[in-house]
């Protein structure tokens, strides 16, 4: 109970200090704010180690209990240990470490990205079957118009009217306006959520 109270007091004090230091232009607050942010970065780095230990623990238990697909967990633990060993021995910029990134990690992530493109096309096709309302029709028509406005056909080039008038109007007027509206709403939500944490109405760090 006492620990939670201390955590709450520290979190609120630091949060208030950072907020005041950001909004009020007092020169004395700037170095203190930067120092506190440096501490936060160091603590986050320690959190990465804790997170990785948690990840290993979860997958180790899956292997130990011989759960379904636990072979993947074993592969994860082995490859994680191998990558860590390579990083420790040759350094993060070493030839072997870089080869591992460029030969395995980047291609795997790129193939997931390609898979995502296919998934999205499939989702768009199914959208009207799943939810045939006005907004879905507007969504599909806008996406189709934007795609056709950005392509150029062989021999013809840009599609007349669509490529030079409708496409730019859609992206710079309608889409930009809508995106700004969404961003303003998200900003207001972020502001009130931050204030709730600052007033300790929400205390993920202290058990509420």
């Amino acid at each position: 109970m006492k620990g939670k109270l201390v955590a709450t007091v520290i979190a609120i004090s630091v949060g208030l200090f950072i907020l005041v230091g950001t909004l009020l232009p007092f020169p004395i607050l700037v170095p203190m704010r930067l120092e506190l942010l440096r501490w936060a970065v160091i603590i986050s780095s320690a959190a990465v180690m804790v997170g990785i230990a948690n990840l290993i623990s979860v997958h180790f238990q899956k292997v130990r209990r011989r759960e379904k697909n636990s072979i993947y967990s074993a592969v994860l633990i082995l490859s994680m240990s191998f990558t860590l060993a390579l990083g420790v021995v040759f350094g993060p910029n070493g030839e072997w470490t870089q080869a591992l990134f460029e030969g395995i990690i980047f291609p795997v992530e790129a193939s997931l990205m390609a898979l995502l493109a296919v998934t999205l096309i499939y989702a768009s096709v199914r959208l009207l079957r799943r939810r045939a309302d006005l907004m879905s029709i507007v969504f599909v028509v806008t996406a189709a118009l934007t795609i056709f406005a950005s392509i150029s056909l062989p021999f013809f080039g840009e599609i007349p009217l669509l490529g030079d008038v409708i496409g730019p109007w859609l992206t710079s007027t309608l889409a930009a306006g809508g995106a700004r509206g969404l961003l303003l709403g998200v900003a207001l939500g972020a502001l009130t959520t931050g204030l709730r944490a600052l007033f300790a109405f929400d205390r993920p760090f202290g058990g509420k």
Binding site: A47, N54, V58, T119, Y122, A123
Partner: protein, 246 residues
């Protein structure tokens, strides 16, 4: 000038939030019905009844970045879901892509179990770090979504386009999807792939709709008041500009 406007906005929001939270109301505030939240409440109840599991994925928003607000809101929602499903035979599993948020998700779940009086049922590994890069996070969370007995995937927080892989995995398992993100690309993907997508600031309304905490409800009301003031301000400024004033 910008700093003064920001300071005024923060002070106004803080006073409004405090006033609305501490105000004694005769009846609880009534909000418009949002289908996704009704479905989430139903899914939480069903998970307890039929012994299925909820997978809550709270994204990759680092608390050191502006995206951390989405993670804080997702943690507040997790607290509500944790309390409602803590007595289920299969406790909810939480995945995140940021180590600090993963640690907080464990703390939040533990607090929810304590609040429900079933501390002994809490399992620390229910809150886990899924991966540190967007696609490693998605791949790991997809694995959890495909596990047996996951009946509902709640994807609420800071996601990028990789959220499309999660919704696809969820749909393959015929699980219910409740999804909200702050990133505009992720919102477009969720609109196309989720049955009941939540758009824009609806992510921040989730704790108020799922629980009954006065601070969450006041926060939603404060957002509404500020939104209307902002709309009014935009109209006034547009009118002034049209009239030729600087």
């Amino acid at each position: 000038m910008n700093q003064i406007v920001a300071l005024a906005l923060v002070l106004f929001a803080a006073l409004l939030l405090l006033a609305l939270t501490l105000r004694k109301r005769k009846s609880p505030a009534v909000f418009r019905e949002i289908a996704a939240f009704a479905r989430l409440r139903r899914a939480a109840g069903l998970a307890v009844e039929d012994g299925s599991r909820l997978h809550v994925s709270i994204g990759r928003g680092s608390l050191l970045s502006p995206r951390g607000a989405a993670s804080l809101s997702a943690l507040a929602l997790l607290r509500q879901i944790g309390e409602q499903t803590s007595t289920s035979d299969r406790p909810p599993v939480v995945t995140s892509g940021d180590p600090a948020v993963a640690a907080l998700s464990q703390d939040t779940l533990q607090a929810a179990y304590q609040s429900a009086g079933v501390t002994e049922l809490f399992q620390p590994n229910s809150g886990r770090l899924a991966g540190l890069t967007p696609f490693s996070y998605a791949a790991s969370a997809m694995d959890v979504a495909r596990q047996d007995y996951v009946s509902t995937n709640v994807l609420v927080g800071d996601f990028g386009p990789e959220v499309g892989l999660l919704t696809e995995a969820s749909e393959r398992e015929s699980a219910t999807i409740i999804a909200a993100a702050t990133d505009s690309a992720a919102q477009a993907i969720l609109f196309a792939s989720a049955a009941e997508p939540l758009v824009g600031e609806e992510l921040f309304a989730a704790p108020a709709y799922v629980g009954a905490d006065p601070a969450h409800r006041a926060s939603l009301q404060a957002q509404d008041v500020m939104r209307w003031l902002l709309i009014l301000g935009l109209f006034v400024m547009a009118a002034l500009k049209m009239a030729g004033l600087p």
